[in-house]
């Protein structure tokens, strides 16, 4: 392989990663919460060649509100569905927490997002911490790191099982027998956790991707249950270590970026915003993330360097309206020229774009060889040569099928992608 492919994701919540980013936005403050604004940012991200966008969320006002920044936020699943319908190749991954939300709803919503996007959905597993979130939900608080992890894990297991609870071909439409469904291909999940149980099956057919792509911060949930670990580290070396330790099929580095614009160096742009608020990962917490400040060419170099140690990056631009434009005009085209990264191809699913196998339902009853998978675009392409990532994805798919036949809940990491 000439070069490992680096997958490119960008977080598009609010006006940017800085709590005062709204002061440099190209629109009036109130315009943030409108469909025009949501569609415009998505169009720029898609046209730039990003593989996916992530959309932050939570029941509480965004963290920027505490620093005098935006106090409003549209629901991430609704925004993602809107974005999916206004784009054609862009992956969409909302943050959804299962700390208080009903996992049954979460599963339905994300499966539906995969349907409305024809297989471009992802899920960034989130957590809703603190007593304020519990009061906003009106639920008894989930307190302590272990309880929060338990709710995240149980939620993830329920969501995955519900996605699998309709086999791919459960809708048979057999005119001869009048049967729309084959009930033998629908499965109760009968989940019983420490704090609740869920019966199943889902009310929505299996998503086009089998399972939407699961992204989670490294360490939150067991890596065998996620597709992409989001790793932090303040240097390429630390990011490489974190990626290697993550244990997930893919690891994306979290990177905050502030770029020189034609009019203003990045450092001055940051300085302008620091007059109002500090650029922190979360109020009161210093960032554990790599932060890049400087020229577009320098960022391209950094990302090329990172492509040796991580599978992808999730960029957090300082100010969307400014940095996304520079990323679009200067950084991504350079990465494509260098073949460090590639645009997603039309008609592919997010899994295919990421070189991930399409998982078999763990409840599958028939041997894979005799089954037909609906939706050709949802299936990874046939391998061209054994050395391509696609080929490793396909072999991983068969390994995953073998694993699921033994009842093991796992996807297998595609080899050669790192």
């Amino acid at each position: 392989m000439p070069h490992p492919a680096l997958h490119l994701a960008v977080e598009i919540d609010g006006d940017g990663a800085h709590p005062a980013a709204w002061r440099r936005a190209a629109h009036r403050p109130g315009e943030l919460l409108t469909p025009r604004r949501v569609a415009k940012v998505a169009a720029v991200a898609e046209n730039s060649g990003f593989t996916l966008v992530t959309l932050d969320d939570g029941i509480l006002p965004p963290a920027s509100a505490a620093a005098g920044g935006p106090a409003g936020r549209l629901g991430a699943v609704e925004r993602a569905a809107f974005v999916a319908a206004s784009t054609s190749v862009l992956g969409v991954a909302p943050v959804v927490a299962t700390t208080y939300a009903e996992p049954f709803h979460v599963s339905t919503r994300l499966a539906s997002l995969d349907h409305v996007s024809s297989g471009r959905a992802g899920w960034v597993v989130g957590v809703e911490e603190g007593p304020d979130a519990a009061r906003a939900w009106g639920r008894p608080p989930v307190e302590g790191a272990s309880a929060l992890r338990r709710e995240a894990l149980d939620g993830l297991r329920v969501v995955r099982d519900l996605w699998d609870s309709w086999e791919d071909d459960a809708v048979i439409r057999s005119v001869a027998t009048s049967r729309y469904l084959d009930r033998g291909r629908l499965h109760p999940i009968d989940f019983t956790g420490e704090t609740y149980s869920v019966k199943g099956p889902a009310i929505v057919p299996r998503p086009p991707q089998g399972r939407p792509v699961v992204l989670a911060p490294a360490g939150l949930v067991p890596p065998e249950l996620v597709d992409v670990a989001l790793v932090e580290g303040t240097s390429p070396a630390l990011l490489g270590e974190a990626a290697a330790a993550s244990g997930a099929p893919l690891a994306f580095a979290e990177i905050e970026v502030a770029l020189d614009t034609p009019d203003e160096p990045a450092a001055e742009r940051i300085g302008d915003l620091e007059r109002y608020a500090a650029w922190e990962a979360a109020p009161g917490q210093p960032s554990g993330r790599l932060r890049y400040t400087g020229s577009a060419a320098g960022l391209a170099d950094l990302l090329e360097e990172l492509s040796d140690v991580v599978d992808g990056v999730r960029l957090h631009p300082l100010v969307l309206d400014e940095d996304l434009a520079v990323l679009s005009r200067l950084v991504l085209p350079e990465l494509f020229v260098r073949r460090v990264a590639a645009r997603p191809l039309p008609g592919t699913t997010l899994r295919t774009a990421l070189g991930l196998p399409r998982p078999e339902s763990r409840f599958t009853t028939a041997p894979p060889a005799t089954r037909t998978t609906p939706g050709a675009s949802a299936t990874p392409a046939a391998p061209a040569t054994p050395a391509t990532p696609t080929a490793s994805a396909a072999s991983a798919a068969s390994a995953a099928s073998a694993a699921s036949a033994k009842g093991i809940l796992s996807t297998v990491a595609p080899e050669g992608n790192r």
Partner: protein, 454 residues
């Protein structure tokens, strides 16, 4: 039917409002027809919504269900099943439609107001004021088995919770003052100080304390729909809803009686009697002649109630597996099996199977009907059959006499089943002056002629 003099009626200026109900779970969608498409492909939803918008409909509706239907632990497999989350689906449709209202059926029993009110407000903003919320409740533990909350509400509490839920949701939707967001980037802060209020609600059902995160939409609040037919349901609608669905849209006298009852309840609730739109559900079968329409309706009914479906429907009344029986033979000779309703079963339970069975037997005997013919004849009378002109006359009469404010139409074919209604019936209604010739507003509230929320 002769045309009524448009001025010799109680409501000479009545306008019909049409909604389309994209059915997700039923045996009424003719999925076996070669022209029948996918029930889940995004293109199907887009096609139906855009056709409805071309026909100047007020709204596109999605249903909700929180557990797959089953009888005796066996999932119904003859019916169409499997539908998307309504708020995700409608948010996607918000991007590809411009005027039509987008109505989500969302359950108050297994949601929390802080979360759901925010999602509905998100749809309302993403659609620029076109969201509606069909408020539904659940009282069975069978559905609760899919939720961490479990089956925690009895019948009496479900409307109490729904009402409290609405109160909290409205407070959340009203949480931001007009002009709560700064005008320019030079302001002291993004939100104007004091313009975002906390919502604290402590009642029998909720103990919520939150800061709302969204402004009001162009229409103020999502439009509230309600579909309960019981006295409690009608009273709930009279107190809370902007639109009431019903099954009373078939027979004129029945529709008028329902409408008058609802208007009575509205007055009792202290609301103006034009504060609630009455939109019964219906199915419409159109033919070039009355005879052709009748033949088509017969065909539709036979496709909907296949021999296997007839046995399944009768099996739910008799509470036994009739799948080996002859659908063209008589009804079962046995008495129905009666089981106590513990709330642990699905929505298909029959309240009093012995009475229903006795009624079916008597009618089958009197008319010489087979089992399948009985199911077809005694199933819900689902709609209107006729020529575009004849149907337009009927609907005009319904509207001008105040029996309905419009219809919520369930096409029997997805995704093209709305085409002849839009292409043939709508022009006839426009000619009679009982249907809009263009959208005059942009929000769902404006389409329905409703006042903005206080």
């Amino acid at each position: 039917m002769t045309r009524t003099d448009p001025h010799d009626v109680p409501r000479p200026d009545a306008r019909l409002h049409f909604g389309v109900f994209f059915q997700g779970v039923n045996h009424w969608t003719v999925w076996s027809h070669p022209e029948s498409g996918s029930q889940i492909d995004p293109a199907s939803f887009r096609r139906v919504a855009q056709t409805a918008e071309r026909g100047l409909f007020d709204a596109f509706f999605l249903g909700d269900g929180l557990r797959l239907r089953e009888t005796g632990g066996r999932i119904h497999e003859l019916d169409v099943a499997g539908r998307p989350d309504s708020l995700a689906q409608l948010s996607a449709l918000a991007a590809v439609t411009h005027r039509i209202g987008l109505v989500s059926t969302s359950n108050t029993t297994f949601n929390e107001p802080g979360d759901l009110a925010r999602r509905l407000a998100s749809l309302d903003l993403l659609s620029d004021g076109r969201a509606g919320w069909n408020v539904v409740t659940t009282d069975n533990a069978w559905t609760g088995a899919n939720f961490r909350r479990g089956g925690f509400l009895d019948h009496a509490d479900r409307y109490r919770r729904a009402e409290e839920f609405l109160t909290v949701a409205r407070a959340i939707w009203d949480g931001w003052a007009d002009g709560a967001v700064a005008d320019s980037a030079d302001a002291r802060a993004w939100s104007v100080p004091g313009s975002v209020g906390r919502v604290r609600a402590a009642g029998a059902q909720f103990d919520v304390d939150l800061v709302p995160t969204l402004p009001r939409s162009r229409q103020g609040h999502p439009v509230i729909f309600q579909a309960g037919d019981s006295p409690e349901g009608r009273d709930f609608a009279a107190r809370n809803a902007d639109v009431i669905f019903s099954a009373h849209g078939q027979d004129f006298d029945d529709a008028l009686a329902f409408a008058e009852d609802v208007r009575r309840r509205l007055r009792a609730a202290g609301r103006p009697q034009d504060a609630l739109r009455i939109l019964p559900g219906t199915e419409i079968v159109i033919g070039a002649t009355e005879k052709e329409a009748e033949e088509k309706a017969r065909w539709v009914r036979l496709e909907q109630v296949t021999p296997a479906t007839a046995l399944a429907v009768a099996g739910r009344v008799w509470n036994m597996d009739l799948s080996g029986r002859d659908p063209d033979g008589p009804l079962p000779a046995e008495d129905p099996v009666v089981v106590e309703d513990t709330g642990a079963f699905g929505s298909s339970r029959i309240a009093d199977p012995r009475t229903v069975a006795a009624e079916w037997r008597a009618k089958a005997e009197a008319n010489g009907w087979s089992l399948r013919e009985t199911v077809i004849a005694l199933g819900p009378q689902r709609g209107h059959v006729g020529t575009p002109s004849g149907l337009a006359d009927t609907f005009t009469r319904f509207a001008r006499h105040g029996a309905v404010d419009g219809f919520n139409i369930s096409p029997y074919l997805i995704p093209d089943g709305l085409d002849d209604i839009v292409d043939l019936l709508v022009p006839e209604l426009q000619e009679r002056g009982v249907y809009r010739t263009s959208y005059t507003g942009t929000t769902l509230r404006e389409h329905l002629g409703l006042r903005p929320p206080a």
